[in-house]
């Protein structure tokens, strides 16, 4: 991670609440983080931990109602994205911030050719004419490793395989040279050998293009391989964030520790029995006033039930939200 560089994105105190018929759901609770230029920030958490909703809130992709952003700021290049109008956001989305979603079949439009969908952001954001956009689109498909790019441009999404579709999504996201790429579980729907291809591609593209990436996933293995820094989310909150090696070698939050222990190893001795995290994730029906993990935590005490531990910096770049400290 480049030290001391001014963050390209600085989010603080983000709160997102959904209003449903059965009450409110506090999906994101006071989330703060920043992103340095060129950095790859991994976000891990289980389903319902708020990792996707955080990103969707930032770029205004949540329908409101039911979603409501109750507070916080998100400074991107000197402007607060949460205070922007839809028009202003539209100029940022797809041009300066690109995104890749989990399922490439549902995020590509089946009735338009891949070429049309690739050229759309170029013509809207970069004011290119048709010929320029087409040339650039071919360049982009080649960049993401699609063979025979020129003729593939006129194909429709269903003519591509899962891995190829995800490459197309990445090409669209990169079309306008974004400063930030948000990738929401981009390899979850893919097979391991195809996932390995995409991970390799992303590593390569980072070196070539140098954009910052936010990579959302539930797979700690993927994160270990590509991230510079990791943010662990639980119950709509950031419970720990640290540089990747620090997090895996010295996890401080009981949730992170338990999560790493539940994974069966791929090398080394095979454990007789898997460690489990008993119980269920919390329901998020109100503003948290206590630690969301306490009912499943091995180290919980009275204080955890009385107050929600604030996130504090423990060591260089290592933040954790927990009262308990492992013995050195």
């Amino acid at each position: 991670m480049p030290e001391g560089a001014a963050p390209i994105l600085d989010v603080s105190g983000l709160k997102t609440v959904f209003t449903t018929r059965s009450g409110e759901v506090h999906a994101v609770n006071s989330v703060s983080f920043n992103l340095a230029p060129g950095e790859l920030l991994g976000v891990v958490g289980e389903s319902g931990s708020g990792k996707s909703v955080t990103m969707m809130s930032l770029i205004g992709l949540l329908p409101s109602p039911p979603a409501e952003i109750r507070g916080g700021t998100a400074m991107f290049d000197g402007h607060d994205m949460l205070a922007m109008s839809q028009d202003e956001l539209r100029q940022i989305r797809g041009s300066r911030i690109g995104f890749v979603f989990q399922d490439p079949m549902t995020s590509l439009n089946p009735v338009f050719s891949v070429g049309f969908q690739l050229m759309e952001p170029l013509r809207v954001h970069m004011n290119m004419n048709k010929a320029q956009a087409r040339a650039r689109a071919i360049e982009l498909l080649e960049l993401v490793g699609i063979p025979d790019a020129e003729s593939r441009l006129d194909n429709f999404p269903h003519q591509f395989s899962g891995g190829m579709r995800q490459r197309v999504m990445i090409a669209i996201a990169l079309a306008c040279d974004p400063q930030i790429l948000i990738a929401d579980e981009p390899t979850t729907a893919l097979d391991v050998t195809i996932q390995a291809q995409i991970l390799e591609l992303v590593k390569e593209l980072r070196q070539k293009l140098g954009m910052a990436i936010i990579w959302i996933t539930h797979d700690l293995g993927v994160i270990a391989g590509i991230a510079d820094r990791v943010r662990v989310m639980y119950g709509g909150q950031v419970v720990e964030q640290a540089p990747v090696r620090e997090l895996f070698s010295n996890p401080l939050h009981p949730y992170t520790r338990a999560l790493l222990e539940t994974l069966p190893g791929f090398v080394g001795a095979r454990s007789k029995r898997l460690r489990t995290i008993e119980g269920q994730p919390p329901s998020l029906d109100r503003q948290p006033t206590s630690c969301p993990f306490r009912t499943r935590c091995r180290h919980a005490n009275d204080q955890c039930a009385r107050e929600n531990p604030p996130i504090r910096t423990i060591a260089n770049g290592h933040d954790v939200a927990c009262f308990w400290r492992p013995d050195a």
Binding site: M164, I194, P264
Partner: protein
């Protein structure tokens, strides 16, 4: 492992699905979902069946339980060939073999209570009076760690992990010997996966169950399975004991597959050599000539595009299908 008595012997199993096209719905081809696979499953063991999506691992599991009419081959369950059985004959053997499905949301009837879901196999195959039936349901709920008070609730009132427990209790109801687990943990969160896997292990130990564990999660298979079969495009490319396979994969596809699995350890990840396979899996309706893996194999030779490699024994406990070996 105890003495190696095969519980299930699969011989040259083929499962082809016909493709119909046109107004007359004429058969124009077939999808070779499972194409000539043979293996044994020993009593009390867990055989892991791994592969990518579309490789035919689920079709194989379902065909072995005779949820499909198989195209060809033998499935010998404790000395009886069930591949060609029909109707009553087959029904009598159903209690011996059960299945746990991937998606607990889709495999539980939303209009039935937990008790009636778990008791359904009992109603079908056993004649129990009301008391004995409820007694058995409670016993099963205890066995899988569900609170007895929940017997009259409906599936939607449970979380994913608990729903999977209901599915497991249903599979256990008739005291089966053999259970096919078709991706039982794929739909669950990491912290819940471990709970279900431990439960499966406990039950195996307590009841002497034999599992065919179908999964694409290679780390979990390493934890659970005693032997592992790797499938690619309808065929088994390598079958070996867990340690043989994970420590020293021999087939080029197994090598590539294992090297593609990300390890949750950053220092290890940065030094690992990955074998990145080019391209995608070909369509099983139109598999390549010769070895099915020849289109993506990094070690492809001329013979591979001509002849199908035989599935042969390499050493004690290890079988593979490759011209190189």
């Amino acid at each position: 492992m105890n003495a190696q008595h095969p519980l299930v012997q699969v011989r040259n199993l083929k499962m082809y699905f016909p493709i119909y096209r046109g107004v007359l719905r004429r058969q124009v081809g077939e999808v070779k979902a499972v194409d000539d696979i043979s293996f044994d499953i020993f009593k009390g063991e867990t055989l892991g069946l791994v592969g990518e999506s579309g490789c035919g691992k689920s079709s194989a599991g379902r065909a072995i339980l005779r949820l499909y009419d198989v195209t060809d081959g033998q499935i010998i369950l404790e000395g009886t060939d069930i591949a060609a059985m029909h109707g009553k004959e087959l029904r009598r053997l159903r209690p011996e073999m059960q299945m746990i499905f991937q998606d607990p949301q889709a495999s539980l009837n939303p209009r039935m209570t937990v008790a009636s879901i778990i008791a359904e196999p009992l109603d079908e195959h056993r004649k129990l009076d009301k008391r004995a039936r409820m007694e058995r349901v409670f016993e099963l709920m205890d066995a899988v760690g569900l609170n007895r008070d929940f017997a009259n609730r409906f599936p939607h009132e449970f979380s994913g992990g608990q729903r999977q427990r209901i599915g497991i209790a249903r599979a256990l109801a008739l005291n089966p010997k053999f259970i096919v687990c078709d991706e039982p943990i794929a739909a669950l969160d990491v912290s819940i996966q471990a709970q279900v896997v431990n439960l499966l292990e406990d039950l195996q130990e307590r009841m002497g169950l034999t599992y065919l564990f179908i999964s694409h999660d290679l780390s979990m298979v390493r934890h659970l399975a005693t032997r592992v079969a790797v499938m690619y495009l309808g065929r088994i490319v390598e079958l070996a004991t867990r340690d043989q396979l994970y420590e020293n994969p021999r087939h080029p596809y197994t090598e590539a597959l294992l090297s593609a699995v990300p390890e949750p350890d950053p220092s290890l990840e940065s030094t690992r050599q990955r074998i990145i396979l080019q391209g995608d899996v070909p369509s099983p309706a139109n598999p390549p000539k010769g070895c099915n893996f020849c289109t993506r194999c990094p070690k492809v030779m001329d013979i591979c595009t001509q002849e199908t490699p035989p599935f042969k024994k390499l050493e004690d406990g290890r079988y593979a299908a490759c011209h190189l070996l």
